[in-house]
Symmetry: C2
Subunit: 595 residues, 2 copies
């Protein structure tokens, strides 16, 4: 029997982030395409998505984990209730939130559609994957498709009638997609015939909707080897007929499903293309670039997954700690009490505060980044667009890796607080760990994010993006008065920024002599920048909370958590400031036979 | 289908630890009861256990995870092959290794029987649990039983004909066993009738052997509340008849099994005692003390579990990193190579080295501690016994918590190196994570170990035990010559010892005013002492390896890993040296409604 799970929309937290701190509605007024959005629109979206999340998909989360998807005779059956929830999702128009107006969409800004990722993903990440991949396919076709392709596919994806699927990996081509072997043979009519076996293809076969639009990476016959010879194709499960309806079955067939540690309600497919008809999407041999449209969205969503699962774990752990009577306070129990709630113990509070500190700063980071994406896309001023774009480029790998690593730590702490009951999976805590674990692996493993950050985002431009971010932080911290009790927080953040900045020329010098230095220092660099970002966010949140902290326990909690963050978590930087200064030789000179 | 798993006994590593470094055979000569043991005896035991581990239980590890145990009509069926492996285990006389000679045992020292825990536990931790609990029951009856109880139960447990079971937890009594409600009503014949429902009772019902000997915590009618009123009882599944054979079925019945995140081949039972006949073991109301006999053994075994699962993960990850061709070296690939093995990447090496560094120091720690237990039990000199006993008392919570926390990190890194395939559980890596996770929770959750260490083991004796350990370290580091290239390692270890020592009076002063300080600082104190212990061990291992490192890649790897440890892992101390100095108010002043 699946354990009972419940999810409560963190409405108050979202109001704090989106209204009190970020003031997103005011920020959006600067962007002409979103200038009509009011606070009330944001609140209504929180409410609508919250109901769907709590009532329609949260109850399916444990079922998805227990039942998984099943495969029989080429057909995939999704867990009980998933299909009906998808029908409801479409009937309520949710797939249209992110789509363009000309495709029947509402074209909401990212700072709002991030609510879809948070609320639906928190409630049931496995279920969200179906919707997420469809959105990704939509964005990819919108960015790369010709007029005919856009007219055919986009409205159908926007309504949810058709769903999307991504087919990238093969047995010999995972992280290194350039090694793929699926081939595409040009046909006289301009189409291609694709042949090959894809694996780890997410939601590429299921029982939702009328058609599945596979986006498939393959090599056109005669194209160069490696990543320079990869093209992207649209391969519909059913070939559209003259009316644009799902017609003849294409020869792309699921051959089985993978068993996985988590996200077990999502089908991960083996998909065989047996001369399947495909249509080139974008330019030949530019398939990777075409697909990169989706990579930033996917990495931001993956960072949110770290937040989401942490929220799930925290809800359970905090409730357990407040109500489970076990053991006695170090100060002695109240008379007549046989036992105290776990929350009287300092170490339990350390674990709860750790979760709050990572989780709430992660949420702030996610919505702030989403707003920067909106500014980069829609601000009328080119400098403002460029500024936002640079910040997003720098901080996306940080959010993806830092938040997912922290999410694994947080869900593990939630289980730890539950003790033996947690190991038995009560209230879903073991599922949260197993589900969030993939966020450290997919969309570019976290080690790769560290190299992307340090190599491509920091060293490649001589530290300009990093300096830009530090100017933002400095401007923000300048709002903390010299006599404010928050000034030590602000000073810590600024000082860490200087210490990180001072490392950049040192690493650059080493990396010139030894290209392995980027890999050797990348992980610590990413942790350092993440710690600084979260320090900046906690100082910001404390600044907003402080005036109300005397009479609002919600705001008092923000101040207490900021204080905890700087006392317990922020000093992790001292570890990484030492590691980052280590020469790569420590790693690289050992012969590989020593391992 | 379960994924294929293989396990290779790390014979060379064991020889290095047991012969080259610890020189256990020579050390045992000081202990009269073990003075006949030679190196060859140790090697033969490694070989015999290694064969059993590799050939008989390792192949069942994935099956245990996939099948789990099943419950039907009061009967528990263990996973395919488990029962036959147990019969073979008994036929080969393995249960006798740890038993006393008068019970038909071989009474091997702990430094050798630790090989059982490592090799069998690495191969199949779920299977080891059946043997471990039986050993625990044996030790508990041997320490607490009267002559009749010892004569009846011990030979049957020593042969493996009967197995043991521990029944402690109830729904309302987990960590806080003093809350238990199971009652024991005295009978005219001196026996008791036990009534209550136990849960999380490990291997308390299965299909091995002829009888199951439950050791059950319960409260005699009229006994005081809390932990002062708890007694320990022997409750056999089948009541022994006049010949000592398994006779009438006792009314202790399994009502079902728990589903668990890992160790799924081990049955975790609900067990109902419905007026079951039990026999008092040891003194009335002293049940917790009677059971504590097993706690140190169990904590050392739990520390080893961290080592064992790390070894499993490392074997898979190192092989994968050396053979999986994916991506290119930062220095450029060799001509004609389409891709390089993963091990060319600095960050992959960081992850491999991290596993090696935690794992190999953990193994050294485990065998060193086991030898100290032997000295504490069997040394002819009372001062030497006391010295060893104090070291064991101080360092047991460190080993339990530090090694299990590191084991979770190591298995997670092994999966990370495997990437997507790891998330699919290929070669068992996800099972290793799920199995090792429980080691952080059971036998006293790791937060409790931190409080035990700091409160009972360090502050309670004014830092005497800690100072004793530091003298051992100083004596050991004095063997590193001033001009040795290892001297910086030794100096780092000594310096960290001084910094930890300097914290003790500060924490003591704070704890006097605020008892919550022990809980607030315990986790960081434990990490600090663990980092120092591992630093000491890595310096020791490097000292032994150095003379041969120029011509032996095995020894060169030890030096390279020591260097990595001090560069990458040891500086974690800088984080915790700051946290440990934080006042508990940061955690405790927040009202519990803020969570």
């Amino acid at each position: 029997m699946p354990h009972t799970q419940t999810y409560a929309t963190p409405t108050r937290e979202l109001q704090f982030i989106l209204h009190e701190w970020l003031d997103a509605a005011t920020g959006l007024q600067e962007l002409p395409s979103h200038a009509g959005i009011r606070r009330n629109d944001i609140d209504e979206l929180i409410s609508a998505l919250g109901h769907f999340a709590e009532d329609e998909v949260a109850p399916l989360n444990a079922i998805g984990d227990t039942e998984g998807c099943s495969f029989h005779d080429g057909q995939v059956t999704t867990p009980a209730g998933f299909r009906e929830a998808y029908a409801s999702w479409c009937a309520q128009g949710f797939p249209r939130l992110t789509a363009a107006r000309e495709d029947g969409g509402r074209a909401l800004p990212n700072v709002m559609t991030n609510l879809v990722i948070e609320l639906v993903g928190s409630a049931n990440h496995s279920w969200l994957m179906y919707a997420s991949i469809s959105r990704g396919a939509y964005e990819c076709i919108r960015a790369n498709g010709n007029a005919q392709q856009r007219a055919l596919y986009l409205p159908r994806l926007a309504s949810g009638a058709w769903t999307g699927s991504m087919c990238m990996s093969e047995t010999l081509a995972g992280t290194d997609v350039g090694l793929l072997q699926t081939s595409a043979a040009p046909q006289a009519d301009g189409s291609y015939r694709l042949t090959g076996l894809k694996r780890m293809a997410t939601v590429s076969e299921h029982d939702f909707g009328e058609n599945i639009v596979h986006l498939v990476l393959a090599r056109i016959d005669g194209a160069p080897p490696g990543s320079r010879g990869i093209s992207l194709f649209i391969v519909p499960k059913f070939l559209p007929d003259a009316n644009g309806d799902a017609g003849e079955r294409n020869s792309a067939h699921c051959e089985g499903l993978e068993d996985k540690m988590g996200i077990r309600g999502t089908p991960t497919c083996w998909l065989r293309f047996d001369g399947a008809t495909g249509f080139l999407l974008g330019e030949a041999n530019k398939g990777l670039q075409a697909m990169f449209v989706m990579m930033n969205i996917a990495r931001l969503a993956t960072g949110m997954q770290g937040v989401n699962q942490s929220e799930r774990g925290y809800q359970v752990a905090a409730d357990h700690a407040r109500h489970r009577l076990q053991g006695r306070s170090a100060r002695g129990s109240a008379p007549g009490h046989e036992a105290d709630p776990l929350i009287v113990h300092a170490d339990v509070r350390r674990m709860l505060f750790t979760q709050k500190a990572w989780l709430e700063a992660g949420r702030a980071f996610g919505y702030w980044l989403a707003l920067q994406v909106d500014r980069a896309q829609a601000h009328p001023d080119a400098d403002a667009r460029h500024d936002a774009d640079e910040l997003v480029a720098l901080l996306t790998p940080v959010f993806k890796a830092f938040s997912s690593d922290n999410g694994y730590a947080c869900t593990t702490l939630a289980q730890q607080i539950m003790g033996g009951a947690g190991y038995l999976g009560e209230r879903g805590v073991d599922q949260f760990i197993r589900d969030v674990r993939v966020a450290q692996i997919y969309e570019g493993a976290n080690g790769i994010q560290g190299q992307d950050l340090l190599g491509r985002k920091v060293l490649a431009d001589g530290g300009d993006r990093l300096a830009r971010f530090q100017r933002h932080v400095a401007a923000s911290m300048a709002h903390i008065e010299p006599d404010s009790s928050l000034r030590p927080f602000a000073d810590s953040v600024l000082q860490l920024g200087e210490r990180i900045g001072a490392q950049v020329p040192r690493i650059a010098a080493r990396a010139t002599a030894n290209p392995d230095q980027v890999g050797a220092s990348g992980q610590s660099f990413l942790r350092l920048l993440g710690l600084q970002v979260y320090g900046w966010l906690w100082t910001e949140m404390a600044r907003v909370a402080q005036p109300q902290a005397d009479f609002s326990s919600f705001h008092a909690a923000k101040l207490a958590t900021a204080r905890f963050y700087f006392a317990y978590l922020f000093p992790e930087a001292e570890h990484h400031l030492r590691v980052i200064d280590i020469d790569a030789d420590v790693l690289m000179t050992a012969d590989e036979t020593l391992f």
